[in-house]
């Protein structure tokens, strides 16, 4: 009878084997009794997580040992946290496969593990990397890269031109279907190959063969362009051209990239441990031609910025990326404030008009809205100075930046005047205006409310806010038919060339411009000069001229550049800050970073 009495408790006990089974999948401690969660693994927060992370094998079963046995197994991890840079990251990346990744949080990882033919330096100039030099032909339709001699992967195996040919092929391959396939569409045959049907073998093979990339010898990569592309050496620095090893990819299947041992790279660091959602570690690649000073890097993923701040304070992070909402708190703390750095990023956000729709088909209405934007208050108060106001398109630090642009600065009188001059004449005559924004960030609402309130107070215009999940916003913005009347949006540079800013976005045949209904033949002409000329100075001048026309036409009222902002432990030195540092300061020149005790 008593046995039955405790049936309930027995049931609970019965559940334990289930737990044990679950626990067994992970190689650490056996599960403790349900009542004793204190019987835990190593104490929290005492040792920096990086210390034991690399030795704790991840749950992934390692692939069979590579045939060319790595000389330097990734388990040879740094033994102390002392010389490892611990970087706070917010969102864990979805996929870090060079030809498939698309987010900067993914790219920053790949850029430590790999290196393209060229790379960006601390001034965002394109400098030699795997290739020691490159050469365009006269009309910039062929580019020839010459590799450094004796390049090696981190496992000591040789890196040759074929590896880069493979990278280009894999990126353009329709079977790969990476989201950045189109960035190589200047490469002859790439667009065709990307749209070929895999099952139609003959056409597929033909398309593959037609791809304009080849390796005449082990140290030379030749790329045939579809049209002149004098900026293509910069494109060659991008992650899509990172030479991941073909045999590793083929052996590992779709998930090859999850295995740090398959990610044999040629960059300054080498993946050593990947723990999903938690932490990714790198060790120095001693085979890199320009060995790094750090022993390793740790990317620590904490998407609650509040938790991350505490982690920084308790010494678990070297670099912390505060959320805009935390800036007041950081500034209130004397110590944190002294370690806080903020500098403009390679991005521009503005008020985007749909010029196909009333009332924004009227330039005067656009002008009125552009003048009405109180950019300074917006950045200083609403965004806690996490942005800097701008009146031009290409951001500071990128070639083509126009420091002299002053049109459409905040001016209430001018705004009212412009509205009065418009075909509508007054705010009352305007049709209904809806402004769309993404709700994922709680602060977005306050930001858009501010903008809408401004229009109401300055112009007397009632703007309806429409908050949607970010996926819906991007879907709406992708379709010409649903493109919102009014929204905040902009561009984050893929590579620091004005072509990426001006032609890719505002050319009348660019999808972005088309969605907003923008196109100006005069600007197109100037862009053509910039896109084809091999004279860098002439190119930049042409783009700047085009930019002036575009700003005057106001498809967008530039508003601000978001800053890169970090709290950096003073023991970290040697980082060079660039506008493109959207993950950590000095991310494009990590070899020079060092840690002093």
């Amino acid at each position: 009878m008593r046995k039955r009495m405790i049936a309930l408790f027995a049931l609970l006990v019965l559940i334990l084997p289930v737990l044990a089974a679950c626990g067994a999948a992970t190689p650490t401690t056996a599960p403790a009794a349900t009542t004793a969660p204190t019987a835990a693994t190593g104490g929290e927060a005492t040792a920096p997580p990086v210390a034991d992370a690399p030795t704790t094998a991840p749950t992934d079963v390692p692939a069979a040992a590579p045939t060319d046995a790595p000389a330097d197994p990734p388990t040879a991890a740094p033994t102390s946290a002392g010389n490892v840079l611990r970087i706070h990251q917010v969102a864990y990346p979805d996929v870090f496969d060079p030809q498939k990744s698309s987010y900067s949080g993914e790219i920053v990882l790949l850029s430590q593990n790999y290196e393209g033919l060229t790379r960006l330096d601390e001034n965002l100039e394109t400098v030699p990397a795997a290739a020691e030099s490159w050469e365009y032909n006269a009309d910039a339709t062929v580019i020839t890269f010459t590799l450094r001699p004796d390049l090696k992967y981190s496992d000591g195996s040789p890196l040759t031109a074929e590896n880069f040919v493979y990278a280009a092929q894999r990126n353009c391959d329709s079977a790969t279907a990476g989201e950045y396939q189109s960035i190589l569409f200047d490469l002859a045959g790439c667009a065709d190959f990307a749209s070929s049907v895999v099952t139609d073998t003959a056409a597929y093979d033909a398309a593959k063969a037609g791809l304009g990339v080849s390796a005449p010898d082990a140290n030379t990569v030749v790329m045939q362009m579809a049209q002149p592309a004098p900026y293509f050496h910069t494109v060659a620095s991008l992650w899509v051209m990172y030479p991941a090893k073909q045999e590793m990819i083929e052996k590992g299947g779709e998930t090859w990239w999850q295995d740090p041992e398959a990610q044999i790279g040629n960059g300054p660091f080498q993946f050593s441990s990947i723990v999903e959602d938690q932490q990714i570690d790198f060790v120095r690649n001693d085979n890199y031609w320009n060995p790094a000073k750090l022993d390793g890097l740790s990317f620590i993923y904490i998407d609650d910025s509040s938790v991350a701040l505490e982690a920084y304070k308790s010494g678990q992070l070297d670099i912390f990326s505060p959320d805009p909402s935390q800036i007041p708190a950081v500034q209130e703390d004397a110590e944190l404030a002294s370690l806080y750095v903020a500098y403009e990023g390679a991005n521009t956000t503005g008020l985007q008009f749909n010029t196909k729709l009333a009332p924004f088909d009227d330039l005067k209405v656009r002008e009125a809205f552009a003048y009405a934007l109180d950019r300074e208050t917006y950045c200083e108060v609403i965004r806690n100075a996490d942005c800097l106001q701008t009146l031009t398109w290409i951001p500071k630090g990128i070639p083509g930046y126009d420091a002299d642009e002053t049109r459409f600065a905040f001016d209430e009188a001018a705004a009212k005047a412009a509205l009065a001059e418009s075909s509508y004449g007054s705010a009352d005559a305007l049709p209904e205006i809806t402004m769309m924004y993404a709700t994922n960030d709680p602060a977005n609402q306050a930001r858009h409310e501010f903008v809408a309130n401004t229009f109401r107070d300055v112009l007397g215009v009632e703007v309806t806010l429409q908050g949607l999940p970010s996926k819906d916003v991007s879907a709406a913005k992708k379709d010409n038919a649903t493109y919102p009347q009014l929204s905040l949006g902009g561009w984050i540079g893929d590579y620091p060339d004005p072509q990426n800013w001006v032609s890719v976005f505002w050319n009348s045949n660019a999808t972005f411009a088309q969605r907003q209904g923008y196109g100006n033949p005069a600007a197109d002409e100037l862009m053509k000069v910039g896109d084809t000329s091999t004279d860098q100075a002439a190119r930049i001048a042409a783009y700047q001229e085009a930019q002036k026309i575009i700003i005057g036409d106001l498809p967008i009222a530039p508003m601000y550049n978001r800053v890169n902002k970090y709290v950096i432990n003073p023991r970290v030195t040697g980082y060079a800050m660039t506008p493109a540092d959207d993950q950590f300061p000095g991310q494009w020149s990590s070899t020079s970073i060092s840690i002093t005790e």
């Binding site: 039955r4 009495m5 049936a7 309930l8 049931l11 609970l12 559940i15 737990l19 679950c22 626990g23 999948a25 992970t26 650490t28 401690t29 056996a30 349900t34 009542t35 004793a36 969660p37 204190t38 019987a39 835990a40 693994t41 190593g42 929290e44 927060a45 034991d52 979805d94 996929v95 498939k100 698309s102 329709s174 079977a175 279907a177 989201e179 396939q181 189109s182 667009a191 749209s195 895999v198 779709e254 998930t255 999850q258 959602d277 938690q278 904490i302 998407d303 509040s306 938790v307 701040l309 678990q316 994922n440 970010s470 996926k471 819906d472 991007s474 879907a475 709406a476 992708k478 972005f512």
Partner: protein
Amino acid sequence: MIGFLIRRILAVIPVLFVVAFITFFLMKQAKGGPFDQEKEVNPATVKTLNARFGLDKPTWINTTAVSRASDQGVANPLTLTRAFLDSQFGNYIINAVQGDLGPTYSSKGTENVQDVIKRKFPISLRLGLLAAALAVLVGLPLGILGALKQNTIFDYISLIVATIGTSVPTFVTGLLLTLFLSRVFGVKPIKPIDAWDGYSTAYIAPACILGLNTMAYITRLTRSSMLEVKRQDYIRTARAKGMGDRVVITRHMLRNSMIPVVTILGPAVAGLVTGSFIIENIFRVPGIGDEFVGSIGSRDYSMIMGATLFFALLVALGNLTVDVVYGFLDPRIRSKS
């Protein structure tokens, strides 16, 4: 009993099917596919991706495949049916029956939903079971104490805990607790990477908060159930036989009053191991709930479908377990089924 069990298990199948149908239908209403990025993706690339994930097929039924097949002279009804069901939904269901919930889109197809569940669910399961254990181990005694010492300070404490626990949503208590810990003690629970392996102190705070609602509910239910049983004639009989308090409570009251408590325990435990999105979000627990919320944002259809089905299945299993335990506790039920 066996027949009863089989019937109950079979009844779960149509329920799961309709749940899958509803979820699928709703997800199809949402604009924006898994491959919509903020930046432009080449349409050809999107097409290829859609083909790879079978998203180029019709949503519900594939009539073109049927007519094509019959044009080709296929008469085998099985083949034709398969062609008819060669749709996104049809294929999903057919694969799901075989235990394959399809690749997740966010991993670009590199990982299957069942693998994600396998990887992340143990953490949620541990969290949920700890919360359930807490709820039972605290809630039961508190409820029993409240009922036995009716209208005393114990009773009032148990009532207040129960009322507050059931009414205040966990995410409020969770947020306030984290706020309190960080403001007063400067503690922000950042957990080392392996903190979530096995059982560890990392689970304490989230499990306490997660279990609070259920604990309070169990307290209330136990209390009222004990009070109900206390009034029963057979308790009077036991007292009339001269049985002491301890015997009356443990032998005569507990098991009878457990019956309604057990009834809610199944769904409650199922709810605890699945319903911890908010708590996982607040306490940064790398479990399946957090994964799920993320997958909705990224329109990861297969993850959403898989998680919904998985959760629905768990709830069904929870209820099934209750039925079995119920019979164990109550001989009247046992002999009836």
